[in-house]
């Protein structure tokens, strides 16, 4: 058993609603695994069961080889949780917050002091460590929220949408911190509904919707599910109908849709066929004023798998 986290057949129901339905995946040491899905997809419920906050109706969770549940303390020692909502005490200072949660995780003495200082520097709050956190900015609170989760050097760090409501600068700081932790060998479970974050951070990604995993793999593996085609949108004036007919004959073009002054094409390897498409449209009597190439991404994958946009 080399996986840090093994989730097998996890399920949770609330009345008639299946919040999570048969979720399974594993995370290896040093791997960053993303759970990508829209709000209400079941990401937080899945994480709540993995972190032992709530009991699963079915399925098992194993963290570092130890079974996880609400009363399983052995597995929880290997876990660091960064909840989606801020989980810090406003009447304590940043250092006191870290120290309190560190003690509960078993740190004490010099080890606690040293580790607290390290984390304060990592999250950029060393100079504000003595301030009450109610006086922190939103971004500072977010960074402290993350710092508490990684204080005790957990084997598995769970981050539940850590960048929601964060300014761009703090967001980038958070993403860099996660990348650094991953490079140090920490396994990370990262949930988000931001496609760009999943693409940047995650070695593997599971796309989750309506409580179940729709697909899982690396970014490239997931994109292949869409057929790997690019989309080219042409805007212009002139005879678009004739242009559409002409472009269907261009090598590499799979599909053409016309909509007045705009054409939408599905093509293999868009950049290599782009010149022929613009020339063909011109020869058919359409004067092209703008061209847009869209390469397949996780948004396309989600659309392909579920028939709806990721941020619906």
């Amino acid at each position: 058993m080399t996986e840090v986290l093994t989730v097998q057949g996890l399920a949770k129901r609330y009345g008639d609603l299946a919040a999570v339905d048969g979720v399974s995946f594993t995370i290896a040491p040093g791997e960053t695994f993303g759970l990508l899905g829209p709000n209400g997809a079941g990401k937080t419920t899945t994480i709540s069961m993995i972190a032992g906050l709530i009991a699963a109706d079915a399925g098992t969770v194993t963290v570092a080889g130890k079974g996880m549940g609400p009363s399983e303390t052995a597995a929880k020692r290997h876990l660091g949780l960064v909840p989606q909502e801020l989980a810090i005490y406003p009447d304590l200072t940043g250092r006191e917050n870290l120290s309190f949660f560190g003690r509960l995780q078993g740190l004490n003495g010099r080890d606690l002091s040293r580790r607290t200082q390290e984390v304060l520097e990592l999250i950029g709050l060393a100079d504000r460590a003595g301030d009450l956190t109610k006086n922190y900015s939103g971004g500072m609170k977010r960074r402290l929220n993350i710092g508490i989760g990684l204080l005790h050097r957990p084997t598995l760090l769970i981050l539940d949408e850590p960048t929601v409501g964060v300014d761009p600068q703090s967001r980038n700081s958070i993403l860099e911190a996660v990348e650094a932790l991953s490079s140090e060998g920490m396994a990370v479970l990262y949930t988000t509904h931001y496609m760009e974050e999943a693409e940047r951070l995650c070695d593997r990604i599971a796309i989750i919707d309506e409580g179940s995993i729709q697909a899982e793999g690396t970014r490239d593996e997931l994109i292949k599910l869409t057929g790997g085609v690019d989309r080219i949108n042409l805007h212009g004036s002139g005879n678009s109908v004739a242009a559409a007919a002409a472009l269907r004959l261009v090598p590499g073009v799979q599909h053409v849709d016309g909509d007045g002054s705009a054409l939408s094409l599905t093509v293999q390897d868009g950049p290599s066929v782009l010149a022929g498409i613009v020339t063909g449209a011109g020869n058919a009597g359409m004067s092209v004023t703008s061209v847009e190439i869209t390469r397949p991404d996780l948004e396309s994958v989600f659309l392909h798998l579920t028939g709806k946009a990721l941020r619906d």
Partner: protein, 390 residues
């Protein structure tokens, strides 16, 4: 156990910084004690504080029984009396002018009338400054005259029966030596009744205890709202550690606040609640009862705001019904409800303690409070946790 203490110390640090615990647990009840005390008579002890009285008295110098009446009034120990002898008219004038608080006029031949079996009338004239003090003296006069009359009647009856003179004298003395007209005894009106200021201090301590313990267990709801409860649940904590720490914080705050209120109130108002050991046992018991009640509140509400409202209602109902402001009496089932009120039991217990009662004597109120605590804990385990489903 280490984790439990870590959580307790964190909560206590938060409460100290928050300062609201000081306001609700100490400042408000002490202020309320002061206001209520001022409204009802001011600070100080419960001594009624009888003022010295000047009595203008008239009696015949050669009438031994009349002199006995005046001596009795002058020598009683309840009121400090200055007795000035003068004529009957002057005595009336002195009372009328305010030179004396009271005129006491023993008629001529008072002794002869008694010995003849008749009932002579002793006149009392109260001046403008008359009050509780002169009422006390009037009752003394009535008492001594009744005793002298009884003695003379007994002696006359013995004489009529042809008894020898020494026997007649003995019977007269025996009748005259009845119970004294007035006895001052320091003590409680009943074994379970505190003085006014004692009730005020104990009642406010009991009432605001209900608020104070809320800072502990109901802090659990604040953790839920702040999101920290989820993080705590992800920590390797032993089963029940989170709830136990909140209960312990409420208990510690409750004991500390009640102790400070009782001590401060005692010093401010001159109240003696009796044995510290007994008061301590009563305090621990009532705090246990109040803390256990908050477990039910914590299970029934969804937010800290709802909890504060519920806690305030419970505090006022239990406090008022327990006699925090004034004694409440009932009958039948209503009285039973009043008897099982932990605030009422606490005040009753302090009454017994103040009257000199020991641990054995306060067993009943302590039992009431501990049984109340036990029942609340059982109910809290049975009812569903509405907050957890919120």
């Amino acid at each position: 156990m280490r984790q439990l203490w870590i959580m307790i110390l964190k909560d206590l640090r938060q409460r100290v910084r928050d300062r609201s615990v000081f306001v609700f647990s100490l400042v408000v009840p002490l202020a309320l004690m002061g206001v209520l005390s001022l409204v009802t008579g001011g600070f100080g002890s419960d001594d009624p504080g009888l003022e010295p009285v000047t009595v203008a008295a008239s009696a015949a110098n050669d009438d031994q029984l009349a002199i006995t009446v005046l001596d009795t009034v002058e020598s009683q120990e309840v009121v400090d009396v200055t007795l000035n002898r003068m004529s009957a008219d002057d005595a009336r004038a002195a009372a009328g002018s305010g030179a004396a608080d009271m005129a006491l006029i023993v008629p001529e031949d008072f002794g002869g009338s008694l010995r003849s079996g008749s009932s002579p009338t002793v006149q009392v004239v109260q001046g403008d400054g008359a009050g509780l003090e002169t009422d006390v003296l009037i009752s003394v006069v009535v008492g001594v005259v009744d005793q002298l009359h009884a003695a003379s009647v007994a002696a006359a009856a013995a004489g009529s029966a042809g008894l020898p003179p020494d026997t007649i004298a003995a019977i007269g003395n025996q009748a005259a030596a009845g119970a004294p007209a007035l006895i001052l005894k320091e003590g409680q009106a009943s074994d379970e009744q505190l003085s006014f200021h004692g009730t005020l201090v104990a009642g406010q301590a009991g009432l605001f205890l209900m608020f104070t313990v809320g800072f502990g267990v109901l802090g659990l709801l604040a953790e839920r709202e702040e999101g920290t409860l989820a993080r705590l649940k992800s920590m390797p904590l032993g089963h029940g550690t989170i709830m136990a720490s909140k209960a312990a914080v409420g208990f510690i705050l409750g004991v500390a606040a009640t102790g400070v209120l009782l001590v401060t109130g005692s010093l401010l108002f001159g109240v003696d609640f009796g044995s510290p050991l007994v008061v301590g046992a009563l305090t621990l018991s009532v705090v246990a009862a109040a803390t256990s009640l908050t477990f039910i509140v914590a299970r029934m509400v969804r937010t800290a705001e709802q909890a504060n409202v519920a806690q305030s209602i419970l505090a006022m109902v239990l406090g008022i019904a327990g006699g925090a402001f004034f004694p409440i009496q009932g009958s039948g089932f209503a009285q039973t409800l009043l008897d099982i009120n932990p605030v009422g039991a606490f005040i009753r217990g302090l009454g017994i303690s103040a009257g000199g009662g020991g641990l054995a004597e306060v067993g009943a109120p302590i039992t009431v409070m501990l049984v109340f605590a036990g029942i609340c804990l059982v109910i809290a385990r049975i009812i569903p946790d509405r907050g957890a489903r919120a």
